[in-house]
């Protein structure tokens, strides 16, 4: 096919955003100021005066991993309860205050944190700080609110899991089979029997255990001064009393000893798909950074090994996704066992063995020869660039900073991740692939379309 010649004359416009950073600049770190209040609340501020707005993230040190046994999905259900009002700010007030100030808000639950995020013009800073402090003091624990949100969450599960092709099997079922302990293996979206069993007493207990200032980090990024923010946070959050430190369950896993494989049928999907999950080294080890780089070498973009090999050269896949801690976070934001995941969608009638053989060739090549220096330099540049992307928008930078402080007590790592990536060698990658990307450390799910009505048996 030829590119129609007429289109060349239709070039309309190029929009360029060029920074004034010197061309030699290779590293960039966001400005960070950190303070801890007497009640234990950690406050992190990063000034960014590019627009008269700010992003705020309040992260609590509780996620799927620590939700009680028999209460799968509870951390997320609880997240919804944080939007149901308080004695001082009844239901609806929060949205009215934030949206009335020109902002918007949301919440996210992940394995190791639950975060509440807003972005707004700086004129709304005081009311938003007030409303976040208010829901850190107490909630409206009315049983009707729980009933209401239980239905909302169950509908969310129907829409995102039960009635959606693939049903997030690469995010829910894969860790379920790869891990052996409840914290890491259970269905984080929640079994209906557990969601139904949740009582308002559970909500109140969970709040008192985990939603204390000493188990939270507040991050603000935007057109503010750190001094001004610290003073305001002291004013609004200072009176929130500290509570007993939450219990920390043991979330470690015993080593895996053999490959785990299963086959699922999917009544909605039209194309077969493969999910592979490898156990990975512990967070904050050098090997964990190597795992992150290996994950990106295999999955990041069209230059990646799996895309080039499976989609382009062998044409055995339609799409390839994955990486360390994928899909519920980036390769650096987790605080317990996680997997290096591949999710591959294949053309109709693909056989599992043929696809897996092609996949294994790509893994074996990485373990045998590792990347050459040019390939390693390329992925390091891409990962640095991607990390900067994560820090560009104030609300995302606030989220990233708050998780770092939650996990490590300070935000230093946010600035030093590009340096950690730069320290990885080709030999590190080769050894990592040979040691960790092995069959005995992996779990595979092959998901095939169920025969449709009208198909011949």
């Amino acid at each position: 096919m030829d590119f129609p010649a007429s289109r060349a004359s239709l070039l309309l416009a190029i929009a360029l955003c060029i920074t004034r950073v010197p061309s030699s600049a290779q590293t960039w770190k966001p400005p960070v100021a950190l303070k801890t209040l007497p009640n234990g609340l950690k406050v992190v501020v990063s000034e960014d005066h590019s627009a008269p707005t700010f992003g705020i993230c309040v992260s609590y040190g509780i996620g799927f991993r620590l939700e009680p046994e028999g209460r799968t999905g509870f951390a997320h259900l609880f997240e919804h309860m944080m939007f149901e009002g308080t004695p001082k700010a009844p239901k609806g007030t929060l949205d009215k205050v934030i949206e009335g100030g020109g902002g918007n808000n949301n919440g996210d639950t992940r394995y190791d944190f639950t975060e509440y995020i807003e972005t707004a013009p700086v004129s709304a800073l005081d009311p938003i700080l007030w409303i976040e402090a208010d829901r850190m003091k107490t909630l409206d624990f009315a049983p009707a609110n729980l009933e209401n949100q239980r239905k909302v969450v169950e509908e969310e599960v129907r829409v995102n899991v039960l009635n959606r092709p693939y049903g997030l099997f690469f995010a829910i079922d894969l860790p379920g089979k790869a891990f052996d302990t409840y914290p890491n293996a259970h269905n984080f979206y929640g079994e209906f029997k557990d969601l139904d069993a949740a009582r308002i007493e559970d909500v109140e207990k969970f709040y008192n255990q985990y939603y204390s200032p000493n188990n939270a980090v507040l991050a603000i990024v935007g057109d503010v001064s750190a001094t001004e923010v610290f003073a305001k946070v002291e004013k609004y959050f200072g009176p929130v009393p500290a509570r007993a430190a939450p219990p920390r369950a043991n979330v470690e896993e015993k080593p895996q000893t053999s490959e785990r494989r299963s086959v699922q049928t999917d009544k909605l999907a039209n194309l077969p798909a493969l999910a592979v999950g490898y156990r990975t080294p512990p967070r904050r080890s050098h090997d964990a950074v190597v795992a992150a780089v290996a994950g990106e070498l295999l999955h990041n973009g069209q230059a990646s090994r799996l895309y080039q090999s499976l989609v382009k050269e062998k044409q055995k896949a339609v799409s390839v996704d994955g990486g360390l801690n994928w899909p519920l976070g980036n390769p650096f934001e987790y605080n317990g066992p996680t997997l290096l995941v591949s999710f591959v969608v294949a053309p109709e009638n693909t056989q599992e063995d043929a696809l897996l053989a092609a996949y294994d060739d790509a893994i074996a090549d990485l373990a045998r020869r590792g990347p050459d220096n040019a390939e390693l330099d390329r992925i390091k540049a891409k990962m640095r660039s991607d990390w900067y992307d994560q820090l560009e928008v104030p609300i995302q930078r606030a989220s990233t900073l708050s998780h770092a402080v939650l996990f490590d007590g300070n935000a230093d790592r946010v600035g030093s991740i590009p340096d950690e990536i730069a320290a990885v060698t080709a030999d590190d990658i080769r050894k990592f692939a040979a040691t960790f990307l092995v069959k005995t450390d992996r779990t595979i799910i092959w998901r095939v379309p169920a025969p449709k009505q009208g198909d011949r048996k």
Partner: protein, 202 residues
């Protein structure tokens, strides 16, 4: 993925709650909003090249990345009537190799500058977008210029793109939101339905 407003039902319930709240006064000790601070509009320098290409330059200090969007008039509403999906196929293949670089080299050269490149067909334009570390902006622009002037649309790359777009469409045929949007558009717009394009409607 786990969002408070995960479903239409959730949004609806919350909007009812909002209506109820409209009748309530705000909490008495809620501090007032501060004064509105004006946004300084970005300064745009417009340059026109001899060949007619218009270039907008928007400096953004303090962040070490550069983003480039090149818009070409004529998007998927300009698809020939008997060839729906044509603009999507152009967008999917224009980045897949030039007279100077194979598709793999395009991807690798961009990766080396921390960049990416994508083609997207819109209703009235095709957008080719790239971003890179600002210290490597020159290379990103060179690759973009190469792609826009020397794209080869090789038989092999077009065949792969056709096959993958078809498979993506097949996968989307199982997606309720895709089916709902398509059905709505077929009834609401009638004249030009983007059926074979294989993309989610925005």
């Amino acid at each position: 993925m786990i969002r408070k407003y995960g479903t239409a039902a959730a949004a609806l319930i919350l909007s009812w709650a909002g209506l109820a709240a409209d009748r309530q006064p705000l909490p008495k000790d809620l501090p007032p909003y501060g004064p509105i601070k004006q946004l300084a509009a970005p300064h745009v320098t417009i340059v026109k090249l001899d060949n007619g290409l218009t270039v907008w330059l928007v400096p953004e200090a303090g962040f070490p990345k550069v983003a480039v969007t090149l818009a070409v008039r004529g998007g998927y509403t300009a698809d020939p009537k008997d060839r729906p999906g044509f603009a999507d196929l152009i967008a999917a293949t224009v980045t897949q190799g030039t007279r100077n670089r194979s598709a793999k080299q395009v991807a690798e050269d961009l990766e080396a500058v921390g960049g990416d490149l994508s083609g997207n067909s819109m209703p009235d334009s095709i957008l080719i977008e790239t971003s890179a570390l600002s210290s490597k902006a020159d290379t990103a622009l060179q690759i973009l210029a190469d792609v826009m002037q020397q794209a080869t649309f090789s038989d092999q790359e077009v065949a792969i793109a056709k096959s993958n777009l078809s498979s993506a469409l097949q996968a989307n045929e199982a997606d309720p939101s895709f089916l709902g949007c398509r059905s709505h558009r077929q009834r609401a717009l009638r004249r030009h339905v983007r059926v074979a394009a294989g993309q989610q409607y925005p």
